[in-house]
């Protein structure tokens, strides 16, 4: 079973191992009883707990707890003189011209829970001030008074020498239940980012351990119980408890993982994922079947530095509120959420949302109900959009079309962001659209951005859950090396990479995966000696220094348009141990709940109020020319005029522009 627990809905896909038979369901998420919701999910596909031998899920639980600030008490142990590291941060304020909002997020750990420990290690790992027992005793006395159950230890230059952090961990393990070491969570330079990441882990630990333990108890299937991590693969629940922060991007990662599977299957060299949900849209770039990775992101306006999928999230989804402000028409980040939801859901929402614009244009089936909870009230959508139309002196239809275009422009900016950071022209990519809103906006977005090919995968509304089933099993390790390429100690580095490989393989081996099934991917993060950001260069052992140098110069030129002969450095090495997925999926059946009418009046950029064919997705056999709406119980695919759609035998839809 694969389960994607979103903010509003939980999607489930169950697959029977021997026959490949598939079942899909959608149930409301229960943020206050997540484990209960999962057990309900099993029932929703007509199964019992005893039927399930593998349960893989992606969850936003950790992310939401962080973003919403519902975190348990954490104590921070820092080097003396640096105990205010979180409060100081990097100084920068969030918005240049707004004095009304505080310039920075408050520190994750209040000052009274930060301790300055007398010790000092330099950047080469030499002990300058040693840590003695008296100092540790002073710390323990302080810690007892704080009553903190989770402790983050982030000492200066611990990435270069972890000895003091390890000494503390040894002494603390009998005293506090949860300890996070910066050297384990993020062994890389820059004290604020490392400390922040370590504190995130410390804050996530009690929540994660409690939740995962309950899950293990209620669903005792051992290694079969797995969770998605931020780097886009799955990991057994038991292995994630020490580093729960690796779940920070668990939710979006499942969708990307499903996309990776499909990109490989369809042999698409460059794919842009476009996962548009109710409140956010996630996009990610996949090149040659590999998702792009990044070193971190901001979470609740604080840095989390971890190797993770380079998913760019923007606060714009179907429920995003549209405002006609002085700076222009804006979409999001304010959202109508699931309560009251868009005006057209008829539950008291009055603000115009993107979904309301889609409803007004005729794209949504008024009879469709999601889990018998939601109908579409087009009149309510019109009432919400009317004030904006009046202010702009435009008709309702023109305004709704305009809202869609502005929403698509916002999305296009996100697509540009993930492609330019990798030096790739997004127009060469295939747009892979899923989530509730993705298939509705895909053709318009592609048109705006100049993308020629769009794919709407089978089971697009539950695609992320599907990703849980088809994902690889993998684990990732990254370590700072800072080795200058021109006088590299090859054998020394190769020995250290060997250790990293062993560490990355360990969780897989512990879970009974045979060594010969594990593939190893190596990436050197390289930069010029004086630069900051390192760029990823894949390589193999034994290290071919000239090849590495050549590949770096080529990539730098791709990214920035120039390259010089300056000294370059391997900043760090990333090792991913991976066992490819062997799960095959047949065409998932997606029953259409209501028999739908055969046509509706819809409007598009090029044609207004045109009679538009409504096609049942499950019975789509031959190519459909726009304007048309392809729909099933949970998804709506908009095929604008001059576009056409066709399906393959697996149920994937291909949209492309008809050549005039």
């Amino acid at each position: 079973m694969g389960t994607d627990i979103g903010g509003t809905f939980t999607d489930i896909i169950a697959i029977r191992r021997d026959t490949g038979q598939t079942r899909i369901a959608k149930v409301p998420s229960r943020p206050n009883a997540p484990v209960q919701a999962m057990l309900e999910a099993i029932e929703a596909v007509g199964l019992q707990k005893s039927d399930v031998d593998k349960f893989i899920h992606g969850t936003t639980r950790i992310t939401n707890a962080i973003v919403e600030g519902r975190l348990p008490k954490v104590a921070l142990i820092a080097t003396a003189g640096f105990e205010d590291v979180l409060e100081i941060g990097r100084y920068r304020r969030r918005d240049l011209y707004r004095l009304d909002i505080p310039p920075k997020a408050p520190s994750l750990v209040p000052a009274e829970l930060c301790f300055g420990l007398k010790e000092r290690i330099d950047h080469q790992g030499r002990v300058i001030v040693s840590l003695d027992d008296a100092e540790i005793d002073r710390l323990l006395a302080w810690l007892a008074k704080t009553e903190a159950r989770s402790v983050a230890i982030a000492l200066l230059h611990a990435y270069a020498n972890p000895i003091h952090e390890k000494m503390l961990a040894e002494r603390l393990k009998e005293i506090v239940p949860y300890v996070s070491l910066s050297q384990e969570i993020n062994p890389e330079a820059r004290e604020y980012e490392r400390t922040s990441s370590t504190c995130f882990n410390a804050a996530a630990m009690p929540i994660a351990v409690e939740y995962l333990s309950e899950l293990e108890e209620k669903l005792p299937i051992g290694h079969g119980l797995q969770v998605f991590h931020s780097a886009g693969a799955m990991i057994p629940v038991s292995a994630v408890k020490r580093q729960p922060i690796v779940m920070a991007m668990s939710g979006p990662a499942a969708g990307v993982s499903a996309s990776v599977g499909l990109a490989r299957q369809l042999e698409q060299p460059r794919v842009l994922t476009f996962d548009m949900g109710g409140t956010t849209t996630d996009v990610c770039l996949i090149v040659d079947g590999q998702p792009e990775m990044t070193d971190g992101r901001m979470l609740g306006d604080r840095p989390l530095r971890q190797p993770m999928l380079a998913v760019h999230s923007i606060g714009a989804g179907g429920g995003s509120i549209v405002r006609n402000g002085p700076g222009g028409l804006t979409v999001g980040p304010e959202s109508a959420g699931s309560e009251p939801g868009p005006a057209c859901y008829g539950r008291g929402g009055r603000d115009a949302t993107i979904t309301d614009a889609n409803a007004l244009l005729g794209y949504l089936n008024p009879e469709t109900r999601l889990g018998d909870r939601i109908g579409i009230d087009v009149g309510a959508a019109a009432r919400a959009i009317e004030p904006i139309a009046k202010a702009l002196n435009l008709s309702l239809t023109e305004t709704a079309l305009g809202i869609i275009r502005v929403a698509n422009a916002t999305m296009a900016r996100a697509l540009r962001r993930v492609t330019v950071e990798c030096g790739i022209d997004g127009r060469d990519c295939t747009l892979l659209a899923f989530g509730g809103g993705g298939p509705m906006h895909a053709a318009g977005l592609a048109e705006l951005y100049g993308i020629a090919k769009v794919v709407v995968p089978a089971a697009s509304s539950a695609f992320s859950a599907l990703g849980c089933l088809t994902a690889d099993f993998s684990f990732l390790q990254q370590q700072t090396f800072r080795a200058a390429l021109d006088d590299i100690d090859r054998s020394g580095i190769e020995a250290r990479i060997g250790q990293l490989i062993a560490q990355a393989c360990a969780p897989l081996l512990e879970n009974g995966i045979p060594k010969n099934e594990i593939g190893i991917e190596l990436v050197a993060l390289m930069r010029y000696a004086a630069q900051n950001d390192a760029i990823p260069i894949p390589f193999a052992l034994p290290i071919d220094v000239e090849r590495l140098h050549h590949d770096f110069l080529a990539k730098h030129h791709d990214l920035f348009g120039y390259a010089t002969r300056e000294r370059c450095v391997i900043e760090s090495v990333r090792v991913q141990a991976r066992r490819p997925s062997s799960t095959a999926i047949n065409r998932p059946g997606v029953p259409l709940a209501n028999a739908s009418i055969r046509s509706r009046i819809c409007s598009f950029d090029d044609e207004r109020d045109v009679e538009t064919a409504i096609v049942d997705r499950a019975s789509l056999a031959q190519a459909v020319t726009g304007p048309a709406i392809i729909e099933d119980a949970w998804s709506t695919v908009v095929v604008p005029p001059q576009w056409q759609a066709s399906a393959d035998t697996s149920g994937n839809l291909f949209l492309s522009k008809v050549r005039a």
Binding site: G81, F82, E83, D84, E87, I88, G89, R90, Y91, R92, R93, L96, Y97, L99, D100, P102, P103, K104, A111, D122, H123, L156, H157, A189, R190, E191, Y192, E193, G325, P326, G327, G328, L329, L392, L394, L401, G402, I403, R405, V406, A409, A412, R413, R416, V420, E421, L448, G450, Y528, A530, Q531, N532, D533, H556, L559, F560, G561, Y562, T564, E566
Partner: protein
């Protein structure tokens, strides 16, 4: 031309995205810590006449000055002579400049043989030659002592980088290698901007693009006019002071008289003091940049910051004053110190009228310590450290500790980066507890950061204001603690002046304490 309001919005997104992408190219590929760690750089897109239309999320004082960078350039380099592929470099104050360290790289963007826009990359170079490593010299009698002056010259054309010009620049700076990398990054950034602008023109049509830029100016202008109309007509006066530089070394006065009349506002800065004898003079462009920022805050509105927003504003400076000292005056520090004092003066002028839109005095100084360490080959390693401090309190909340306010938004350089790259050990970086001014709402606290020198010797330059005249309290709130710099050498502790150039020795401990913000409202008891 009738414009679809949604197309205008889509192009506006595209312009901001293009400028943000330019900054991203800079921070990711630049060499100097000042650019890659502290982010002392800005990117902008202007229309064909030089009116700012798109900017990154960078440094407000740069962005404000860049509204003048292209219009002034075009007075001496006519647009008709520019060709597709040309890239100009310059740093002269007279050409819409601010100080010599901020080097502008400009690329005209051609579509169908016409210039439709300019892509501008501004970066603070860690050294541009001159008297002192880092190109800041507190007692400079004129700008010739400060740094190399670069008039507008072609640094690249359609065939690539102009090597003779690059070589000329490299032999005049103290860290030629990182200078070259930074400059190439700037050129690459303008190329990125060009690419995006050309795409926008292809998507929407050149005529729609050009008309949209004009529309964006009009929108911001009408927004600014509406905001000014809401303010009560009348004259408002405010002043604040620089720590020194006035007659007999007294605090130097910055004064503003604001006249609101209907939908227009005049900011007359003529009452400010005469040209000063240190590097705190500045250019009229910087004065305008500071006023543009302050007017935006006064408006209380969210609007696109562009040239149109400036149209209802008349900004007057007096020739011979600290704000219009002539093009040969020393101006290195005025860029980030004197400019901030203008914002302070405007806030004080308006504090009884719109207190809810303002904040009490914050850490209105860049708080610069510049360290320079000689290498064996005679080149220098430069570390330009800025220091955040306390934000001023507001009518409904306390000030934030350890942040940047108003015209600047540069970051610190992490201790772990400093220690790995320089012979310095950062011994402490803490919140300076209790330094924020008291009040109904308290000012934010400043910070303490101390540097142990591990090299045999190191050149130091200090450029820190608010050491004598503290950040003001508002509506009865108390002032914040002023900044302080001290040096401990062989057990003896001495205070260091905020505008000085000196040579440090091994084992010296230099400590900076940054100012706390002013409080807002009367403190209870």
């Amino acid at each position: 031309m009738r414009l679809d309001p949604f197309a205008v919005e889509v192009i506006r997104h595209g312009l901001s995205a293009a400028a943000e992408e330019m900054s991203l190219v800079m921070t990711r590929s630049a060499r100097s810590p000042l650019l890659r760690e502290a982010g002392d750089l800005s990117s902008a897109i202007t229309d064909a006449k030089g009116g700012l239309v798109g900017q990154g999320r960078d440094i407000p004082v740069h962005l404000g000055a860049m509204a003048f960078t292209i219009p002034e350039l075009l007075k001496v380099v006519p647009a008709a002579g520019l060709k597709d592929g040309d890239v100009l470099i310059y740093n002269l104050g007279a050409l819409g400049g601010n100080h010599l360290n901020d080097v502008k790289v400009v690329r005209p963007v051609f579509v169908e043989r016409d210039i439709v826009a300019f892509a501008v990359s501004l970066a603070h170079w860690p050294d541009v030659g001159g008297t002192w490593p880092g190109s800041y010299f507190a007692k400079a009698i004129d700008t010739f002592q400060e740094a190399m002056r670069i008039p507008p010259v072609l640094i690249a054309d359609k065939d690539g980088v102009q090597t003779p010009i690059l070589d000329f620049i490299k032999v005049n700076v103290r860290d030629a290698e990182s200078c070259e990398g930074d400059l190439l990054a700037q050129i690459a950034a303008t190329k990125t901007g060009e690419k995006r602008i050309v795409e926008l023109c292809q998507q929407h049509g050149k005529d729609v693009f050009v008309a949209t830029l004009a529309r964006l100016h009009d929108l911001s202008e009408s927004e600014m006019r509406a905001a000014i109309r809401e303010l009560p007509d009348g004259t408002y006066e405010g002043e604040d002071h620089m720590d020194d530089g006035g007659p007999d070394g007294e605090p130097a006065r910055i004064h503003v008289r604001i006249t609101i009349a209907g939908d227009e506002a005049t900011f007359d800065l003529s009452g400010s003091c005469d040209r000063v004898s240190n590097f705190c003079n500045t250019t009229p462009f910087i004065a305008k940049s500071a006023v543009a920022y302050a007017a935006r805050i006064m408006s209380g509105r969210d609007m696109q910051q562009n040239a149109g927003a400036l149209r209802p504003l008349t900004i007057i400076t007096r020739p011979g004053s600290i704000l219009e000292p002539g093009w040969t005056a020393a101006v290195a520090a005025g860029n980030h110190e004197t400019s901030m004092r203008i914002v302070d003066a405007v806030f004080r002028a308006m504090q009884d009228t719109i207190p809810e839109r303002l904040s009490a005095g914050g850490t209105t100084t860049a708080g610069v310590l510049s360290f320079a360490e000689p290498r064996q080959d005679g080149s220098w390693k430069m570390l330009y450290e800025v220091h955040g401090g306390g934000e001023g309190a507001r009518h409904d909340r306390h000030g934030c500790p350890a942040t940047r306010v108003h015209l600047t938004n540069t970051s610190n350089t992490p201790a772990e980066v400093i220690e790995a790259n320089y012979n310095i050990r950062v011994e402490q970086q803490s919140i300076r507890r209790g330094s924020g001014g008291r009040g109904q709402f308290k000012g934010g606290d400043g910070i303490v950061r101390s540097y142990r020198i591990l090299a045999p010797s190191m050149h130091l330059m200090t450029c820190i204001e608010r050491m004598v005249v503290p950040p003001f309290g508002m509506q009865g709130g108390q002032a914040g603690e002023p900044c302080r710099v001290s040096l401990t050498r062989q057990g003896e502790n001495v205070d260091i002046d905020g505008k000085s150039n000196l040579v440090l020795q091994a084992d010296d401990l230099l400590t900076v304490e940054s100012s706390g913000g002013g409080g807002f409202g009367l403190p209870s008891s």
